[in-house]
Amino acid sequence: MTATTEAQAGTGLLRPQTGRIRRAAARVLLSDHFVLWLSLGYFLVLLPFLPTLGTPANLANLLSNAWPLLVVALGQTFVMTAGGIDLSQGAVIGLTSTVAAALIATAAPPEVLGRAPIWGTLIAEEGGIFAGQVWVGILAMLAVGALVGLVNGTLVALLRMPPFMVTLVAMMTVSAFAIWLTQSENIRNLPEGYVQLGKGQIVSVYFGPQDRPEIPRRELHAVIGQAALIAVALTLALHWLLERTAFGRQVVAVGANRRAAEIAGVPVRRVIVLVFVLSALCATVGAILYSARLEAGRPTLGEGTFLLDVIGATVIGGTSLFGGKGKILWTVWGVLFFVLLSNTLNMMNLSAFHIDMVKGAVILAAALLDVARNRLARSTG
């Protein structure tokens, strides 16, 4: 294979061909959707080494892992585009999932939750006060999420406090509040209708019985689940909101130059409050997907390195940390890249002691490609 290519190149007859390839490469590198191509390239390069990567089961997994992260990152994209940052999204996920579970759980063990401050008022042995009423739970979650976003946004917009500090404090307090609510415990026994939001399958594909390995395995894979529908619908809606509405363009304007936006009649403070509300609402939808999947409300659901995944996916997608530059599609690709990254790291069967190093190296490699592409962009105009 290599030999032929060299021979062909040597003849010089195929110069136009290579020129075309180079142009195609340049087009990919300079594309607005570079991270998508990057992810696909990464996938294809690894495919021969990790055969399971392309199996239907794994692809179904890949997608189902992507949906919740995507939903959360969409909100982050809005905040960042407006020039802010929202560190409280993870804590919102923990709080809202706990609140919903407390309200709609169908049963609760007293030995676990008996000393929670909400015991006896919101939740008791026979479940939450709205046991089984999924929609009440979801509305309550959205209300709680919106409230956190409203507080964040108000502090940032009206009192002109730095978003980093405001949302850092929100992260601390909201998470602590959620943990206090249940005194560290998780709440199980979520109604089936709720669990289906995370796990429910709408279109599944049967690939026949699997013969390898010895144990017969059902090969039924969810291609489109309720989570996928929710995430895709939200993505489309938010893409429309950011690209095709006056509000969306005002978000970009506030991030690009707040003073100019203000003079141009943009309702700057309202825009800022709204992006934080939107961000918290996205986190809340993420909370629905995550907690439904785990079948439990968890005060600590979005803790740890989750935040770095959200911000990392958004930034690698191309949205600027300094505002004024952001696209929903970019974030979709960024999330795809991050989910693919963690999936392939799982597939590589790395020792636990290597995995962080490889993760760092891949992020760096992606960043370096991005740099190369920027240089190319500059040199070709």
Binding site: R160, M161, F164, M172, F177, H354, K359, G360, L364
Partner: protein, 331 residues
């Protein structure tokens, strides 16, 4: 012809500097009223000692923030640099002083790696240091297979020692803060950092050594993060695999709370010191007051929020004071 501001420059400067200190003093006094023993010399000294950990790293972070950069890898450097020193202590019989040197040099080298990616290869600081956050910690986990590392006892002789009654961590913290203050305010390099953070393009046009400046701040941040890690480890005598994880946020928060801006050009060594002391004073005060563990983070968050809020009010007041006055009031 030029109009004059109403308030003299010196008054404005005084208010700028005193604001965060005032907030700190108020916090200490309030907790002192709740638990008088909090105001004892030993308690205050302890608070300062414990603030030194985040504080030292935050001083380094201020250098980075001044250039509108960010260093997410500090938590991992806090882990990896003392680890390298500890391994050499254990396997090569290094002394404490030599270990400290190795630790600091390792931190500088890790910072230089960040600088290579950011300045040399022009990767965005956030992404570059996000990658090295994983790389550095992963490297440490690989070196130790995630095991804890017990340092020879001699190291605690360093970390727990006092000079003239002042604990070593406070001395290190003070030395770092003073050195950073002098560098930032009284050297050309320091002023170049501010200039670069204010307007990178103008800094290039003015012929400043911008690449060197930008690289140096990451080296400084790495060095100080390593030193911060060493100061704590030399007190405990053991390094666990999870050490320093997530600390990048604490470090950035301390710097920002003290008045540094994430957008560059604003802040100083004092920012890091005040920020770290304020956060630690709140934490220690809550322990002294014996607050329920579940409520501690809630109160801590509320207090920090108020500190940021009052700082904002002060800033607004300063802006108003600085506004050009065209005609003296009451004319």
């Amino acid at each position: 012809m030029s109009a004059r501001p109403l308030a003299p420059q010196s008054t404005i400067d005084l208010a700028t500097r005193a604001g965060p200190v005032l907030i700190l003093v108020v916090i200490v006094l309030v907790f002192g009223l709740l638990t008088p023993s909090f105001l004892a010399a030993e308690s205050l000294s302890n608070t300062a000692k414990q603030a030194s950990f985040i504080g030292i790293a935050a001083v380094g972070m201020v250098f980075v923030l001044l250039t509108a950069g960010i260093d997410l890898s500090v938590g991992s450097v806090m882990y990896l640099a003392p680890l390298v020193a500890g391994l050499l202590m254990r396997d090569a019989g290094l002394g404490v002083a030599a270990a400290l040197g190795v630790c600091v040099l390792t931190g500088a080298a890790l910072g230089a790696l960040n600088a290579l990616f950011i300045v040399g290869l022009r990767v965005v600081p956030f992404v570059a240091t996000l990658a090295t956050l994983f790389l550095f910690r992963g490297f440490g986990a690989w070196l130790t297979q995630s095991r804890q590392l017990d340092f020879p006892d001699a190291i605690r002789g360093f970390g727990l020692a006092s000079v003239l009654g002042v604990p070593v961590p406070i001395l290190v913290f003070a030395a770092v803060a003073v050195a950073a203050h002098v560098v930032l305010r009284h050297t050309a390099f320091g002023r170049h950092i501010y200039a670069f953070g204010n307007d990178p393009a103008a800094a290039v046009k003015a012929g400043l050594p911008v690449r060197r400046v930008q690289a140096a701040v990451y080296v400084i941040s790495g060095t100080l993060a390593a030193l911060a890690g060493f100061v704590v480890i030399s007190q405990i005598g053991r390094l666990d695999a999870g050490f320093g994880r997530g600390r990048e946020f604490d470090v950035i928060a301390a710097a920002v709370l003290g008045g540094a801006s994430l957008f560059g050009g604003i802040g100083g060594a004092g920012s890091a010191v005040i920020g770290a002391l304020t956060i630690q004073a709140v934490k220690a005060g809550l322990v002294f007051a014996g607050i329920n563990l579940y409520l501690q983070p809630l109160i801590q968050g509320a207090v920090i929020l108020f500190a940021v809020f009052f700082d904002g009010l002060r800033e607004a007041r300063l802006r108003a004071l600085r506004r050009r006055v065209i005609r003296p009031r009451g004319v």
